[in-house]
């Protein structure tokens, strides 16, 4: 399945590092419990279609139980606890994630389909770092700029997506817990396992029962949780379409809301850019995590005079990427997370062709089992085509061109989204001009897809509101945070 000139011997990470139970219950009140209506669903490895485990599907009674457990823990344990004690629990969690990092990385690659080098080098270390960062805020909130004695909101309902299962759980839980809230977390239907190992870590850390509750299930479980009247705060990461439903569901209630939704980011390359670096940045921007990234650089805006050469260099680079077993340390591109997502990518890519764009993928043989889509580049794309407007959430890049910086700004902003953007130029003044005029929550200059717990992340416009990360990330979980 390697399609470069050199064949690499497989370098497989040890699958045996993960000891999966055949069946997982719900994590409520510090214990593993069976779902009250007895429903379970299977979670499948997208690279092999192997059933990894069965997982409980939480119904309304289970969600209610979890919210009540969180409320009790908020009132009796976590709310009254001094910040410096909360901090120590979070430091324990951060350390335990580091200690179990290899196991978590393998598990994440199995359940999600992402290459082990990404789960090992990005997802897991950043998850640990996020807990470590917010642990330090727990006893310093009076210095955070939200008043002398900022107060938590209560019970937070947190619904996370399947693209970075553990990392998104960490982004949600760490700031909520640091500020004194308790949580009910709903992992994504197709990637529940790393959150369930996180539950084990909470037990090992002696986190008081009910401070974090984890209810697995599909969209219905999430909708029940969001609508539960005992919830004070809703934090959702996922598609803009579902985000709007969440916003409608909390309308007219007392619940505070933050949304981290979709994107259609422009990655803008000027003719003075360091081209080989830019090529690496474009590849990282759209093919990192199979393009299952809300901030993916899915629209390449190339300045007209370098566009042809840039696309040629990009195609050469893509021909060296290795697609295949996520547990192989040589693998650059893993599996598409689910058959549903694969069908969506296939549908939109076919639309791109039928609307007249020119489709290209490197010659490569897709594995026979599992869900796969080759890295794909569309050229001759016009801004009106659907592949230039809709979030594909897959390894599909649309190439557009521009002549002037003003035109690049206009095209970059010609979207309902506003999550991220990339700017490639050696001219500092131009970088700052572009950064100030692009409507996006994160702008990467001469780099792409960098994340850090101290760096606020979140969108403009229909990419959502509220920030995760940094001092600003505390606001979503504090009274008078805004």
């Amino acid at each position: 399945m390697a399609f470069g000139r050199f064949a690499y011997a497989p370098a497989l990470e040890a699958r045996a590092l993960v000891a999966l139970r055949p069946s997982y219950g719900l994590f409520i009140g510090g214990e593993w419990v069976s779902p009250q209506d007895g429903g379970y669903f299977k979670t499948v490895s997208p690279s092999s279609e192997e059933v990894l485990a069965e997982v409980a599907e939480a119904g309304p009674a289970d969600v209610d139980r979890a919210v009540r457990a969180a409320r009790r823990a908020y009132e009796d344990a976590w709310g009254p606890m001094p910040g410096k004690e909360r901090a120590k629990y979070l430091y324990r969690v951060a350390r335990a994630i580091q200690e179990r990092s290899r196991e978590l990385a393998v598990l994440e690659s199995l359940d999600n389909g992402k290459p082990i080098k990404e789960s090992r080098d990005v997802d897991v270390p950043l998850a640990a770092a996020h807990f470590f960062y917010y642990a330090g805020w727990a006893d310093k909130l009076a210095h955070a700029g939200y008043g002398p004695d900022p107060q938590p909101l209560g019970v937070a309902a947190q619904v996370v997506p399947w693209n970075f299962p553990l990392l998104m759980a960490a982004w949600k839980l760490a700031p909520a817990l640091a500020t004194g809230n308790t949580c009910v977390l709903k992992p994504a239907e197709t990637t529940p396992l790393s959150a369930l190992v996180l539950a084990e870590i909470f037990q090992q850390a002696d986190l008081p029962p009910g401070v974090v509750n984890i209810v697995t299930g599909a969209g219905g479980t999430g909708a029940t949780l969001v609508a539960h009247p005992g919830v004070d705060k809703v934090a959702f990461t996922g598609s803009t379409e579902v985000g709007k439903q969440v916003q409608q569901a909390v309308a007219g209630t007392h619940k505070r809301l933050t949304l981290e939704l979709g994107g259609k980011a422009a990655n803008i390359v000027f003719d003075d850019a360091p081209l080989s670096q830019a090529v690496e940045g474009i590849v990282n921007g759209i093919f990192f995590n199979q393009g299952h990234v809300c901030c993916a650089g899915s629209r390449l805006l190339a300045q007209e005079d370098i566009a042809d050469g840039l696309v040629e260099a990009l195609k050469r680079r893509l021909s060296t990427l290795r697609m295949g077993d996520p547990l192989d340390k040589n693998t650059d591109i893993g599996a598409i997370n689910s058959p549903e997502q694969l069908a969506k990518i296939q549908r939109l890519a076919a639309l791109g062709e039928s609307e007249g764009a020119e489709r290209w993928s490197p010659a490569c043989k897709l594995p026979e089992r599992g869900y796969w889509f080759p890295p794909t580049v569309f050229t001759n794309v016009s801004p009106a085509q659907r592949i230039a407007r809709e979030e594909i959430f897959g390894p599909v890049l649309s190439v557009l061109t521009f002549r002037t910086p003003e035109e690049a700004v206009e095209k970059a902003n010609n979207t309902t989204y506003g999550l991220s953007a990339g700017v490639w130029t050696e001219k500092g003044s131009r970088t700052l001009y572009m950064a100030s005029r692009i409507k996006a929550g994160v702008v990467w200059a001469n780099t792409y897809n960098r994340f850090d717990p101290s760096s606020p992340f979140g969108g403009f416009r229909e990419s959502g509101f509220g920030r995760e990360g940094g001092r600003q990330g505390l606001a979503a979980y504090l009274q008078d945070g805004f």
Binding site: K244, Q247, A445, R450, S455, S463, Q472, D480
Partner: protein
Amino acid sequence: MDELAEAPTGRLRVRKTYKLYVNGAFVRSESGRSYKVCAADGQFLAHAAWASRKDVRDAVVAARKAQPNWANATAYLRGQVLYRAAEMLEGRTGQLAESVALAEGLSRPQAFATVGAAVDRLTWYAGWPDKLAQVAGSTNPVAGPYFNFSVPEPTGVVGILAPTGSSLLGLVSVLAPVIVTGNSAVVVASEDRPLPAIEFAEVLATSDLPAGVVNILTGRATELAPVLAAHRDIDGLDLAGAPDGLGGSLERAAAGNVKRVMRQRLPEPEWPADPGTGRMLFFTETKTVWHPIGL
């Protein structure tokens, strides 16, 4: 008639036609409609323009067009303009006090105190544009060779349902924090007390505020609020003066394009209190920029 309303000389007063304030101009409603406005004690005061859906859309077009240049103006300049508005309001204290007294049924000293508080509020906000980024922004010590900074930027076009009770101080208290950061605004004035808002528009019109940054409509809130809430080219919505019982449905409509919605607080807040930074920050977006550090 109230002594404040009629000059003591016995001379017949020239009455004002109250219009909408859209794109820097005073215009009648395109619908040609008007509605009767009475003082708190029930006496007839004037006819106000009864804005239509089309007037809302025109105002949004003006606000959208004006917003980028206003946001890209220097923070210093935005502060200067707000301060100029405070100066202009100070100079029209008598006129506004008369108007507020009639609208809200206040005594003369109460009305003057209210206008004074509105002047002071504008002055307070005039000092914020060149400070907010220093308070709410940051440089972020990321684990890598990058210079990383975050700044608050304006949300864009904000729809405001002005408080229904406090017709001037309430209006200034919700409008100033929206525009100081570089947003533009489409305001629906208090339906029963619209005249102070239009007189305040006269203050803005003489304050070097670029046309379209603030647009003020008068009319039926139940008719105009749903148009604002559902409008796809509005980015944020302040429900301060939402009609009774409509808050939830307006918020649902606003979800259509993921508007930032500031919910209504009931009862209406005590506007003279220290406003804090909350209203400014609510209609800003944190932008974070990464740049490599290297040789």
